[in-house]
């Protein structure tokens, strides 16, 4: 009953390198290293600014801070209540949203994968059509704001993006490709469709589910667009949206600071500036970089095996 196929290789076997063509090998490595360094450098400069002290910021950003200072991080951890709230909103959005999405989409995908389901073709078209044509931003906005009354609630983050058609199709293809004998034997044993779904289809499509879950987490954690359109309440700002506003508006950063009773005596020029924003950015990127290795196996394999359609 164990159906896990041997994992496809994501790199090919090592090859002996001929000494004669060392120079072209260098060219290949130069291209790869250049791009890799550009990527790492881009992330580094954010980190570098976040490690610069406020006093030294006025000399401009540096590739290497004159001396490493944790001031911005200390300040964030001590004073920025707003950012932790936004962090919480993002966590709820990402976790709850992904959990619901995977449940709803995998159940749908399972139904679509069953040959005996009579509505299968009709519903497949129903999904495809939404990928082809959409009403656009404005009708959705009017619908959600005027009619559904989801504006400024956590549900506007979770519900509209719940079903991703690409992910449904990917899950459906995976479930279809499982040997039908597995389903049939379970059905002969008298198991209901629910049971077959939960105890046969789900466990066997674990890699696809992991990929969809990771992409769901990533998309929701990184989402600034939905809140930009539908959220105006400070307490419901997810982290990315907060940071987006902060880049454009230093005032926003100050609103997030819990002022002392002597708020008026706070010297605005002493408030941490870009280093603080960059520190918050680093703290925001962190969770996804942390989660990525867990999913990397499935993720890179999914791309490398090149399942455009599956």
């Amino acid at each position: 009953m164990d159906y896990t196929a041997p994992p496809p290789e994501t790199t090919r076997p090592a090859r002996r390198s001929g000494g004669r063509e060392g120079s072209s090998l260098w060219l290949m490595y130069a291209i790869l290293l250049l791009f890799a360094l550009v990527i790492l450098f881009s992330f580094w400069i954010i980190i570098s600014v976040s490690l610069t002290s406020t006093a030294e910021l006025r000399y401009g950003f540096r590739i290497l801070p004159p001396r490493f200072s944790l001031e911005a991080y200390q300040y964030t951890f001590a004073n920025m209540k707003g950012i932790w709230n936004a962090y919480g909103v993002s966590a709820v959005y990402a976790l709850l949203g992904t959990l619901l999405a995977v449940a709803v989409m995998s159940a749908f995908a399972y139904a679509l994968s069953r040959p005996r389901f009579q509505a299968r073709r009709g519903l497949t078209f129903y999904v495809f059509f939404t990928m082809l044509f959409s009403g656009g931003l404005t009708p959705s906005y009017i619908l959600i704001k005027q009619y559904l009354k989801l504006y400024d609630t956590i549900w506007v983050l979770i519900l509209p993006g719940l079903v991703n058609c690409w992910h449904v199709m990917m899950l459906r293809t995976t479930m279809q490709s499982l040997p039908s004998s597995l389903y049939d034997s379970a059905r002969i044993d008298g198991a209901s469709e629910y049971r077959v779904f939960v105890s046969v289809a789900l466990p066997l499509s674990a890699p696809a589910l992991a990929t969809v879950a990771f992409m769901g987490l990533l998309g929701r954690w990184n989402d600034w667009y939905t809140p930009m359109i539908y959220i105006t309440k400070n307490s419901l700002f997810p982290i990315q949206y907060l940071l987006q506003r902060m880049l454009n508006n230093i005032q926003e950063a100050m609103n997030m600071i819990e002022f002392s009773p002597f708020a008026s005596s706070v010297d605005v020029s002493k408030l941490p500036r870009e280093n603080l924003r960059m520190a918050m950015m680093v703290i925001t990127i962190f969770p996804m970089m942390l989660v990525f290795p867990l999913f990397q196996r499935f993720f890179i394999r999914g791309i490398t095996v090149g399942s455009m359609k599956g």
Partner: protein
């Protein structure tokens, strides 16, 4: 009597089982079906807004019809030519430059002899895909900020005068191409690398025995194998040429109005028409126009792809 009844019931048993099976499958499908109906299909009916002068108190149905007025307003404005031109030319640049860069990276990655190195590059190349456009806008800000940004810092150290990046539209096509490449190329190079992995290793072995060098193999063996994938992916991305990446154009430019001559695209225009101007009729009209042309392009490009490689077609 019971025997007859049983005989009648027997074939029905399978049918009944089939009905209950279908009912169960329907309940599994239902949440998603309802979600799609509410959030994807209801807005499609909302496109009537494009032909109305929307009034909140009267609702969609009660608002007055204005025919094609909303479309006329957009197409006769200067914004139409600007947004259409920027959307099409910037997307064309992204597709052309992005494709060339991803192929170069994929070919180089394929020639890298050490497995550990390949894994390292794969991981690094995926990183830009893991972050949002907001993160990219922070990186851009660190580089381009006029007084303390790294690039102006370097220009000043070399004796030049600082450039006001965020107010000069002429630099932005190049800047946007750089960030688009930065964010997308690593990922798409992995797709190309994936299709190279599918090529029979013996072919490369044979080329090597014939004395071909790495560059020759990359150019004369690997690249020809990539051509079908390149063709299909390029055609598919041309299908999306009418849709701009809102995050790139909005965040990296910090939505700066002075840059609109080169950075305003259809999607940012629709957003502003709705959220800043509050012209619901016109923003729906432009949205509908974009959806229709977008659909036509996707269908057309798909028809072409189906002829080349049926497995890659979406429909």
């Amino acid at each position: 009597m019971t025997a007859i009844r049983r005989a009648i019931r027997a074939p029905n048993k399978a049918a009944r089982r089939n009905i209950s099976e279908n009912a169960q499958l329907w309940t599994l499908a239902l949440p998603a079906v309802i979600q799609l109906f509410v959030f994807s299909y209801l807005p499609i009916f909302g496109v009537v807004l494009a032909f109305k002068k929307f009034n909140v108190t009267k609702g969609i149905m009660g608002s007055a019809w204005v025919g094609l007025e909303n479309f006329r307003f957009y197409f006769t404005s200067l914004d139409a030519s600007r947004t259409l031109r920027n959307t099409l030319t910037m997307n064309a640049l992204f597709i052309a430059i992005g494709t060339v860069c991803s192929i170069a990276l994929a070919l180089a990655l394929f020639e890298a002899p050490k497995r550990g190195h390949v894994k390292f590059f794969q991981t690094v190349f995926v990183l830009p895909h893991l972050v949002s456009w907001v993160v990219v806008s922070y990186i851009a800000y660190t580089l381009l900020q006029p007084t303390s940004g790294l690039i102006n810092g370097m220009i000043k150290r070399l004796g030049g005068t600082a450039i006001q990046w965020y107010t000069q539209p002429k630099y932005w096509p190049a800047i946007l191409v750089c960030f688009s490449v930065w964010k997308g190329v690593g990922m798409s190079s992995l797709y190309y690398y994936g299709s190279l992995m599918g090529v029979d290793e013996e072919i490369f072995e044979a080329a090597r025995l014939d004395g071909a060098g790495r560059l020759q193999i990359a150019w004369h063996v690997s690249l020809p194998f990539l051509v079908p994938t390149i063709t299909v992916l390029t055609i598919l991305s041309i299908g999306g040429i009418f849709r701009a990446d809102f995050g790139l154009f909005y965040n990296v430019t910090m939505n700066n109005g002075m840059l609109y001559p080169t950075t305003d695209v259809i999607d940012t225009y629709i957003y502003r028409a709705l959220m800043k101007v509050g012209n619901i009729g016109m923003s729906s009209a432009v949205g509908l126009f974009q959806s229709l042309v977008g659909m036509a392009l996707v269908l057309a490009t798909n028809a072409i792809v189906r002829r080349i490689d049926a497995d890659r077609a979406l429909i």
